[in-house]
Amino acid sequence: MSNDQTRSEGTPEASVEARLGELDDAYLQLLGSGQDLASDPFYNAFHNA
């Protein structure tokens, strides 16, 4: 399988970084930032299991 078709699809880095800068921490906290994922078995459950 080749990934070549998608390699150039990514949004330009400046755009990703700029949009990251517009986020606010309250929003990211709603999504779960700061949660202790490492204590959960699913943190380590890689791949098709």
């Binding site: 399988m1 998608t6 970084e17 779960g32 459950a45 791949h47 098709n48």
Partner: protein
């Protein structure tokens, strides 16, 4: 650098025969001899890599780990406790299909403070499409019976759900099932190409990622929307993880996530025959016809784990992984929230650790980042309820 995770595959055997499983030889009943377990933990004790750490995370992964039997674990845990002798605080977890769980297992889990993750792909029809018994019947009822037993014993479990062509188009059904079934923490893996699973149902015959990208973005966007609209009942590993990386990157523009899978010795996996692997745990599945392709050696032959990490083979693999990460850094707009991806996925998809983009990172990093950024952008314009289910999808 520390030993972040020790993965032990006590058997490859599994009572199920899930279509997408990455472990070969799942009908092989061979079990890890406790002598090899003893050698492993004595080697951990002598390992310079782990000399500065107190916590040691141990993940029992197979096959079906419970297929090794309760007596095996009783003996194994006693042995490990005796060898580590309080030098390490070992924290054990098990990822199971839940079908073999009994009250006796729960007593053991509680007594030993073992954390349990259960593999469930959604409601019965969806779950049974891929997670079948060896007789070809569905495993949903047996898995949910196991979940019920766990809960009756006061155990909280998280869920690991593999996204396949069966369920990636059905986010509403999955969300409703996981919430109504009382789960609070869910992880969504995408079906990956690895080990004996040579193709992913997410990727069509044409082989490009455009279709799965679109499907994954729609799935995660809708799941985020549902979770928000219902008051955030689920912690979703992928969203929590990418949100933390985004936050770290926002706070420090030079931040790059540290990926344990890329670092020699940070994750070590031992299989039932004593072979030891580093980097991505699924490398223990080897290649068809070459199961030990990525083995660093056997625990029988070394005094310390450090001996396995300084071989020429280990250095060659690490060099190739480093090349791949460097290429990701140069090429990919999402490197700051990714860190360079999984070496295992790179090799299984592209035949080289020096490769860059994979199915997994296309979906679980690139598209996921766009979902999170897109949802925020949508939420801002007029200040109205940004999470309304009546509104347009984020993606």
């Amino acid at each position: 650098l520390v030993l972040e995770l020790l993965v032990i595959q006590p058997t490859a055997r599994c009572n199920l025969d899930c279509r997408y499983c990455y472990v070969p030889d799942r009908s092989d009943p061979t079990r890890l001899p406790t002598e090899l377990l003893e050698l492993l933990f004595r080697a951990v004790n002598r390992c310079k890599l782990a000399s500065g750490q107190k916590d040691l995370r141990v993940l029992w992964h197979a096959g079906e780990p419970l297929a090794a039997g309760l007596d095996f674990y009783r003996e194994a845990f006693d042995l490990i406790d005796g060898i580590l002798d309080k030098r390490f605080n070992a924290r054990h977890s098990i990822q199971t299909n839940a079908t073999l769980i009994t009250p006796a297992w729960c007593d053991f889990f509680r007594g030993r403070n073992v954390r349990i993750g259960v593999s469930l792909d959604g409601p019965r029809e969806i779950h049974d499409a891929n997670r079948k018994t060896r007789a070809g019947t569905g495993s949903f009822d047996a898995a949910m019976r196991g979940v019920k037993v766990l809960r009756a014993h006061g155990m909280v479990t998280s869920v690991l759900c593999v996204l396949t062509s069966e369920n990636i188009t059905r986010p509403d059904e999955l969300f409703e099932f996981f919430v109504e079934s009382g789960f609070r923490r869910v992880a969504f893996n995408v079906e990956e190409i690895e080990g004996p699973n040579l193709r992913s149902s997410l990727v069509g015959n044409e082989g490009d990622f455009a279709g799965p990208r679109e499907q994954y973005r729609a799935f995660m966007g809708r799941t985020l929307q549902l979770n928000a609209a219902h008051g955030w009942p689920l912690t979703i590993r992928e969203l929590a993880s990418i949100a933390q990386r985004m936050k770290d990157r926002r706070n420090d523009t030079s931040f790059v996530p540290a990926i344990a899978e890329q670092q020699s010795g940070a994750i070590l996996t031992m299989t039932r025959d004593g072979a030891v692997y580093s980097w991505s745990p699924e490398l223990a599945s080897g290649l068809p016809g070459a199961l030990d392709r990525f083995s660093l050696g056997n625990i029988r032959d070394v005094q310390s784990l450090d001996d396995l990490l300084t071989t020429s083979r280990a250095r060659e693999i690490q060099s190739e992984i480093d090349l791949g990460v460097a290429a990701c850094r140069r090429r990919c707009a999402y490197f700051g929230v990714c860190g360079g991806g999984s070496p295992g996925n790179k090799f299984y998809e592209e035949g080289s650790f020096a490769a860059t983009q994979t199915l997994k990172c296309s979906l679980q990093t690139q598209e996921l980042t766009e979902v999170v950024l897109g949802a925020f952008a949508y939420a801002r314009p007029d200040g109205s309820d940004p999470w309304s289910l009546g509104g347009p999808a984020f993606c």
